[in-house]
């Protein structure tokens, strides 16, 4: 077990390192740099830009050093917690991202939990009541989850809420609550705003999970040990839940790791549409303005979230299935 853990952990570290290199390279080779944006800004403000000023700007932002040197400086700083400075906001990147990152993690995890809490029971119901009305309805919902793009679902929900209930949507709080101290009303308002993004992000992942659960459980329920358990006289719920589901869930835990990219991407798109204070909108904006350190840090953090999620999924898989531990 320990060697398994150590191996996965080392894999994770190597993956994160490679991702940081790739991310840095991608942003590096994008045409146009913040230097040009800055020069344009200065010229608009009326300051003349001569060689000296350009050089000093370059030195200030560290743009005069070659790419691999910049990478080493940034990477060594990254480990220590110093993520460089944002060009646009003139602040250390760490200040800009912490609370947004925290909120992104919370949102993604909540969406993941919601997906699982809904999909697993529905999948179990579908399998045990195959081809019934409920099963067909669940399949329909699953199919629509796959085919509706999540941003359009968010838009449609926003329009419905605004039209039907006259409610302000978008952002985290309604305008009257933004600066107010925390209270029950504010919490309720937060919940009213948050249910749309949570629902939209979770909806996309529901389909695959439901279908897989249904398929796996159907296969498992045909096995002989289920028949033996029934013959022994166990109550039906125990047969299904304790013996059937426990075995059917195993490939799904493997899927847990694979569904994380979806959830993070979905969260990114939805938060851009709904203007939530997560990583998404700021990352997107920093890409457009070529704010290099900000974008790379975001990309690497998103990838780290993914790698950690995969690691946790592997651990959970090893905990559930003893065969993997003895590998």
């Amino acid at each position: 077990m320990l060697s398994f853990l150590i191996r996965r952990f080392l894999y994770a570290i190597v993956t994160i390192f490679l991702i940081s290199v790739i991310g840095f390279t991608i942003i590096e080779i994008s045409p146009g740099s913040y230097l040009e944006v800055k020069i344009m800004q200065l010229e608009q403000q009326g300051t003349t830009t001569n060689e000296e000023i350009i050089e000093s700007i370059k030195r200030r932002y560290g743009l005069d050093k070659p790419a691999h040197e910049r990478y080493f400086i940034w990477a060594s700083g990254f480990i220590r917690g110093d993520f460089g400075e944002s060009f646009e906001y003139n602040q250390p990147v760490s200040e800009l991202i912490w609370d947004r990152l925290g909120f992104t993690v919370v949102l993604s995890t909540a969406a993941l939990l919601l997906t699982w809490l809904i999909a697993i029971p529905i999948g179990i119901y579908s399998a045990t009541h195959q081809y019934s009305l409920g099963d067909n309805f669940a399949t329909l919902i699953g199919l629509s989850g796959v085919s509706i793009p999540n941003f359009s679902l968010a838009l449609v929900l926003m329009v419905l809420m605004a039209r039907g209930f006259g409610q302000e949507v978008g952002g985290l709080y309604s305008s009257q609550y933004i600066d107010a101290p925390m209270s029950w009303d504010k919490l309720l308002d937060l919940a009213k705003h948050l249910w749309i993004p949570l629902f939209v992000i979770a909806f996309g992942g529901l389909a695959g999970l439901m279908r897989m659960m249904r398929g796996n459980l159907l296969d498992v329920l045909n096995m002989q040990y289920i028949q033996a358990a029934r013959a022994r006289g166990l109550p039906e719920e125990k047969v299904i839940l304790k013996h059937g589901v426990r075995n059917a869930i195993q490939p799904l835990v493997m899927l847990l790791g694979m569904s994380l990219p979806n959830i993070i991407s979905g969260a990114t798109v939805v938060s851009i549409v709904l203007n939530l204070p997560t990583v998404g909108p700021l990352y997107f904006h920093s890409l457009l303005t070529r704010d290099m350190y900000l974008s790379v840090t975001f990309l690497v953090f998103l990838a780290i979230m993914l790698v950690i999620g995969n690691l946790l999924a592997d651990l959970m898989l090893a905990w559930i299935d003893p065969r993997i531990r003895l590998d």
Binding site: I29, P31, S147, M158, L299, N310
Partner: protein
């Protein structure tokens, strides 16, 4: 002995000796045997959803090919008199209650409502404009090379017929949807083509040679799969210079789309090749002295072909959704070109959307296309399943 419904097993590499039959008997019973392809086709036809979806897809592709013919107005033609018009339904009964077999519309003039600062389009009921078929409209090239100006339907000026309404620039949404279908429907195909080439070749190489090549490639694939997709695409799409032509952008975006898809296909192909490698036909081919490339291209890939097609078809919906999302975010197709995602981009502002919900109509087309491809892919997979009845 009636072998009328017997099935010829396997593809290019199975032995053709049937036990217990002489040559004359096998020749006589050639009649009535179905090839594997024909058998798969018949199984596919039994699946109603899949057949219906294929018909829908064919209609959508015809729509894309004949977009100019079906559209009454040019997709980029702005008109300040028709800003944000709601979808028009043609009338059959005029204001006096007289029924007319031919549908007609009225001309409208925009009137600014000073309370809401939106345009209200007042109808001028004095004159009816009948909807005509096969009218003369804007010139275009049918199928790309026949110059003509005939369109399926239209009304005389100054009346306009906007089936799906207009956007905030006065452009006909219906014509824009037709024009956008060209890009949205074909980009998935181009992306899938690239995916097949990359995924099949790399997967085969990885599976066939094994060893360190295999391990390296698997680690690389895992690395690619652990990238969060949308942020990666956003970063890649932001790399594109702004001054690329729409065609260049189109192919670059297709490349991005296939970048993440090929990993899944490569894994599947590798699994298949690993199992084929141990089979008798592979070792006998090697014993005869066939080169590696001949074994790969002549024996293994044809057997994996149906599987490749199915995985590819099932990845098209993902590509359509990706292209829509990217264009929606402003990273995909940029004006003047348009796709369904770019059309939805105009519908981003919720305050505008509240009063002009018809701007969301492109979503319906996206959903239909994605669902249709999903059903067809499922149908293909069930048809090719060797364990089905």
């Amino acid at each position: 002995m009636s072998l009328k419904n017997a099935v010829e097993p396997g593809g290019a590499a199975t032995p053709s000796v049937v036990l217990g039959q002489t040559k004359e008997m096998s020749e006589k019973t050639e009649v009535g045997r179905l090839s594997l392809g024909q058998l798969m086709f018949r199984r596919f036809l039994r699946n109603r959803m899949a057949v219906m979806s294929s018909v829908v897809l064919i209609c959508m592709y015809l729509m894309a090919i004949f977009a100019d013919f079906l559209a009454p107005y040019e997709y980029n033609h702005r008109s300040e008199f028709d800003i944000l018009k709601a979808p028009q339904t043609p009338y059959f009964i005029d204001e006096f209650g007289k029924f007319s077999l031919r549908p007609f519309v009225y001309a409208t003039t925009p009137v600014l409502d000073t309370n809401t600062f939106r345009y209200i389009h007042k109808e001028d009921t004095s004159q009816k404009y009948y909807i005509k078929l096969f009218v003369h409209g804007y010139p275009y090239k049918l199928l790309g090379f026949i110059p003509t100006d005939i369109h399926l339907f239209g009304v005389d000026e100054p009346a306009k017929l906007f089936i799906f309404g207009t956007d905030s620039n006065g452009r006909d949404l219906y014509s824009r949807i037709l024009a956008g279908s060209r890009i949205s429907m074909t980009m998935g195909l181009v992306g899938v083509f690239i995916t097949i080439i990359m995924g099949a070749s790399l997967g085969t190489v990885s599976g066939y040679y094994g060893g360190i090549v295999d391990t390296l490639m698997q680690r690389g694939i895992e690395l690619l799969m652990s990238f969060p997709t949308v942020p990666l695409w956003a970063a890649l799409a932001a790399i594109f210079p702004q001054d690329w032509s729409p065609v260049q952008r189109y192919f670059a975006i297709s490349l991005i789309l296939s970048l993440v898809g090929w990993t899944g296909l490569a894994r599947q192909v590798r699994a298949k090749v690993l199992s084929y490698r141990e089979m008798d036909f592979a070792s006998s081919a090697k014993a005869i002295g066939a080169t590696d490339s001949r074994i790969i291209f002549y024996h293994m890939l044809p057997n994996a072909f149906s599987h490749i097609i199915i995985v590819a078809t099932l990845s098209i919906p993902g590509m359509i959704l990706t292209e829509t999302s990217l264009s929606f975010l402003g990273l995909g197709i940029l004006p003047p070109a348009t796709s369904w995602g770019a059309l939805l981009r105009d519908a981003q502002d919720v305050s505008v959307l509240l009063n002009s919900t018809w701007l969301l109509i492109p979503t319906i087309f996206v959903i239909i296309a994605v669902l249709a491809f999903n059903f067809v892919g499922d149908g293909l997979r069930d048809a090719a399943d060797p364990f089905a009845i």
